[in-house]
Amino acid sequence: MALHFELVTPARLVRSQDVHMVVVPGTEGEFGVLEGHAPFMSTIRDGAVQVYAREGAAPEVIEVRGGFAEVSEAGLTILAEHVEG
């Protein structure tokens, strides 16, 4: 029950870890990604990515600006141009 989550900016690899769920602010609405999600690609709007490390745990919030998210068998990859904090 783990989703491999990677958050990458042009300057560095911000996150690469196994998490329970990630909620991504897509251009056409937020979507949550769990393990085993169908292959999917979406642009994202400026907003907060919520990372749930475990089921029921309080989410960790990462502000991102500009980019897109890709879900494949390998997990979720978010390519963002800017990451706050």
């Binding site: 042009p10 300057a11 056409e28 169908a38 999917f40 897109f68 494949s72 800017h82």
Partner: protein, 289 residues
């Protein structure tokens, strides 16, 4: 034959030059490590973006492709984006870049194309404007910030894309140094706009859903891709500059050392000669009495 005092002055001046080159060498060595780490850290993003581009571009080929991918349809006006350094003291790096730019420009001109330049960094400006007066249409000054980052790459890319949308050129080439090692930096010419179609075709394994749509994503992706390419070029330039500078300053320090040795020998010989002459004079004087 220079006098003793002159020799001493020269030795001192070479010594202080050596101190400067040695300091610059050590600074470059420290900065090189950082620049290399930055270039390393930027690789995952570029690799992922290229992979996504490749799978998308294969799907959205044809008439519906955005202009940044398909081009204007013409191949007449070429823009050369030359990435030079802002500071000197880095050996032949900048003159090699200028040489590569010149060769590309002459090749294009011989084929009957129009060539204009867009210069990033200070150092290429003088030689290129001497060679191709009036052809430099724009430039971007990176000397105002300490280490050019993504913000600068973004600004350059936006300006270039703006020029492209305004129909000022058909094809843009990027000329920048690729860092091989501290000894070798290779000037490289690649096509920047229209974005060259990635060689590897989409994997085409699973059916991927796109939101909003493939074309919209691609349209958003292309400027990002151009930005990333420019960012990569800036990072390579940074590493190349420090590497070239380190090598050049190492050579300069060694040459200064050799020169100091040579001058010291010359100084000691003339001193010895002066003493001998004085002694002979004294002895001759005593014998005459």
């Amino acid at each position: 034959m220079p006098s003793l005092k002159e020799l001493k002055g020269r030795i001192n001046s070479v010594k202080s030059t050596q101190k400067i080159t040695k300091a610059k060498q050590m600074v470059s060595a420290a900065k090189l490590r950082r620049a290399q780490a930055a270039a390393e850290a930027a690789r995952p993003y570029a690799a992922r973006l290229t992979a996504v581009m490749a799978s998308l571009a294969a799907k959205v080929a044809g008439d519906s492709a955005p202009r940044l991918l398909a081009g204007t349809g013409a191949d007449q006006r070429h823009l050369l984006v030359v990435v030079n350094t802002d500071k000197g003291l880095c050996g032949g790096l900048n003159s090699n870049l200028v040489k590569a730019a010149k060769a590309k420009a002459q090749e294009l001109q011989a084929a009957g194309k129009q060539v204009t330049f867009f210069l990033v960094g200070k150092k290429g400006r003088a030689p290129l404007s001497r060679e191709f007066p009036g052809l430099i249409t724009g430039g971007f000054d990176t000397s105002t910030v300490k280490t050019p980052g993504f913000a600068e790459a973004e600004a350059i890319a936006n300006e270039l894309i703006g020029l492209f949308e305004a129909g000022r050129f058909d094809v843009a080439h990027l000329i920048f140094p690729v860092f091989k090692s501290a000894l070798a930096q290779e000037p490289t010419v690649t096509q920047l706009i229209p974005v060259p179609a990635p060689a590897e075709a989409g994997k085409g394994d699973a059916v991927v859903e796109y939101e909003p749509g493939e074309e919209e994503i691609l349209a958003e992706l292309l400027p990002r891709y151009v930005r990333t390419r420019l960012f990569g070029a800036l990072l390579e330039r940074e590493a190349s500059e420090q590497g070239a500078s380190m090598t050049a300053m190492d050579n300069a320090t060694r040459n200064a050392g050799e020169l100091i040795n040579k001058l010291t020998i010359q100084y000691n010989r003339s001193r010895q000669a002066a003493i001998t002459t004085e002694l002979i004079e004294i002895i001759a004087g005593a014998e005459a009495l």
